[in-house]
Symmetry: C2
Subunit: 363 residues, 2 copies
């Protein structure tokens, strides 16, 4: 009479092998390499596993012995949980997830916390992943150094752009140019530019003109080039533009900066922002101030996240393919992009209701 094994006694591959009287390699082969044993034996082993409550080889042990973790990691700006309140980050994640699910590879969100006690380096080194995607991090973020020194494949999304490091982004210069050209074509001659992290010092409010010469972030420089392209094409000069820096990349930060900007003596007739989130804040500020958009103020966003089409007025913005960017980054991490290590997507203007021709100057 066979003793029915208690469910809990089979925790490992070894247990199962012992139970069946075969070697552990055979059990492993039953799970991993069907061609290494007879179909009947395999079926028998798999059935016994099911009956004994053995769910299959331990993923961690397998990862160690195979040298593959079966997961890629994602590191975001700021704190991990902030990523979910930034619609652009959510779309990047969706793209990463798409690539991962197709490859049956896990997507590990690396638990970077708010307190800057070096948590980033620790958690990045502690992440059991084969590769790492970093989204929109400042050049000098400790997470960047940590990821690079870990020696796993790393891809940067949007920022920073570093020599030799795989990179996915969109055409920031064209995005800036197209946005400004749209406003110039609408005859706007006083344009406020509202950005985030334009300077390492993190100003809040208007930036001194000199900031342009000192711009250290590559994207900021690319955008300045784009503005320059637009200004030149329309025979305008830099005095057309005034730059402002928001304290945070969200509607609240955008609203705060916009309130300041809209109280200027010679206030802009149009505001160009670095993200739809900021632009939504501008919309809110204008509403609070009783300034009608687009009649009295044009607002143009950046990114074209879903909420941009749903706010009132709907936001004219520059579309960039965020999901595709995430997906491309994922494919690089998964080794599916061949030799392409630098991918830059084009952008396009999306006309909606938040921009209109500048009103003739009253005086």
């Amino acid at each position: 009479m066979k003793v029915k094994p208690s469910k809990t006694s089979v925790r490992t591959l070894d247990d199962l092998a012992a139970l069946l009287g075969v070697s552990r390699a055979t059990v492993s082969n039953a799970f991993n390499r069907p061609d290494q044993l007879s179909a009947k034996l395999r079926e028998q082993i798999l059935r016994a596993a099911r009956e004994a409550g053995y769910a299959g080889p331990d993923p961690t042990a397998r990862a160690l012995s195979r040298g593959e973790r079966g997961a890629v990691g994602a590191v975001f700006t700021e704190q991990l949980s902030y990523a979910f309140s930034d619609p652009a980050a959510v779309l990047i994640l969706e793209g990463l997830a798409r690539a991962c699910e197709e490859a049956e590879t896990g997507l590990l969100l690396v638990p970077v916390a708010a307190d800057t006690d070096g948590n980033a380096g620790r958690v990045i080194n502690g992440a059991a992943v084969d590769a790492l995607a970093l989204y929109s991090l400042p050049d000098d973020d400790p997470a960047v150094a940590a990821a690079l020194s870990r020696g796993v494949t790393t891809v940067m999304i949007d920022q920073p752009l570093l020599p030799g490091v795989p990179y996915v982004s969109h055409d920031h210069r064209a995005a800036a140019r197209i946005a400004l050209e749209h406003l110039l074509e609408l005859s706007h001659r006083r344009v406020g530019v509202l950005g985030y992290r334009l300077t390492p010092q993190r100003h809040r409010g208007e930036l001194p003109r000199a900031f342009q010469r000192a711009a250290v972030y590559r994207h900021t420089r690319a955008r300045l080039k784009g503005y320059e392209d637009a200004l030149r094409a329309h025979k305008r000069d830099w005095k057309t533009l005034r730059f402002f820096e928001s304290a945070s990349n969200d509607p609240a930060g955008g609203a705060t900066s916009a309130l300041e900007l809209l109280e200027l003596p010679d206030r802009p007739t149009a505001i160009l922002t670095d993200s739809d989130q900021l632009a939504i804040g501008v919309l809110a500020a204008a509403r609070d101030l009783g300034i009608r958009v687009p009649e009295e103020l044009s607002v143009i966003g950046m990114d074209d996240v879903p909420v941009a089409s749903v706010v009132t007025p709907s936001l004219t913005t520059i579309h960039q393919p965020l999901v595709k960017k995430g997906e491309a980054a994922g494919k690089i991490l998964l080794g599916q992009q061949g030799r392409r290590r630098h991918i830059v997507f084009p952008v396009e203007l999306v006309l909606r209701d938040s921009t209109a021709p500048a009103k003739r100057r009253r005086r």
Copy 2:
């Protein structure tokens, strides 16, 4: 003359130990248990590690030997990447991320794919995690069985509710009652109820009255109880309500169902939905049909996701604390909730612009 070790020669703890002439245990202690060796030696080891480009103990090897994976997993309805287009799921994720980052634990998104070839079971068994959160899965989803049989701590969010399994949700019965009471108080006497996954058969369109008696999903039953509470309180009967099932839980699905619903001969004056996503679809359908909301049609959502306050008209809805739910689930997984294994949050009505008194019946 000392030979400077090439950076790449130190890949493991053993390498570093050999380089320094100490035992591997000592190096391990330098990283993990400062009290086990002198501060100077520790500093010396850590410095050598830095110089040699050793990023610290391999996370996978550590996980195996410690018996802790340092990560919890999340499994969503449908395909992983769909989760990011459902604002409710994103907020749940934000809550999970909050709990994880605080505990410096990774959050692994389990790569469940669209094709139903048993991928769910495989990827769940292959996820290197200490615990698993499952969000809004049908009782009979294969992922549920796989998670439970794996033997790691599992928490269900919203669905399913299973005996003995930790569970986080909100008060579905009260949510249904409050929503319907609001409409009844506004004198609506013909109410369309638009849900998702009300039945295992996944109808599309109007449900036969009999469905109520056969409702198998616990939440559906809870909501039916809630409607009953409201009807009784207002001395109305079930004929007040007509039930419809959407093919998908998104604006497109909601719009499709709403178009059908709004062409009914005796069309409802109000629509109550199971999610804000569905309600947004109803808003779009009403707009297409030239039906004014709330003047000619009241619409009430469910969840109170961020976009609900931003659409036009802004959505009256039932607020449930999605981030808190995610966070509570995370804390259960991380063993931080003590003995609380079942958490049900209260809900509340959020009045906005999509509901108004029913117009007096014209005839």
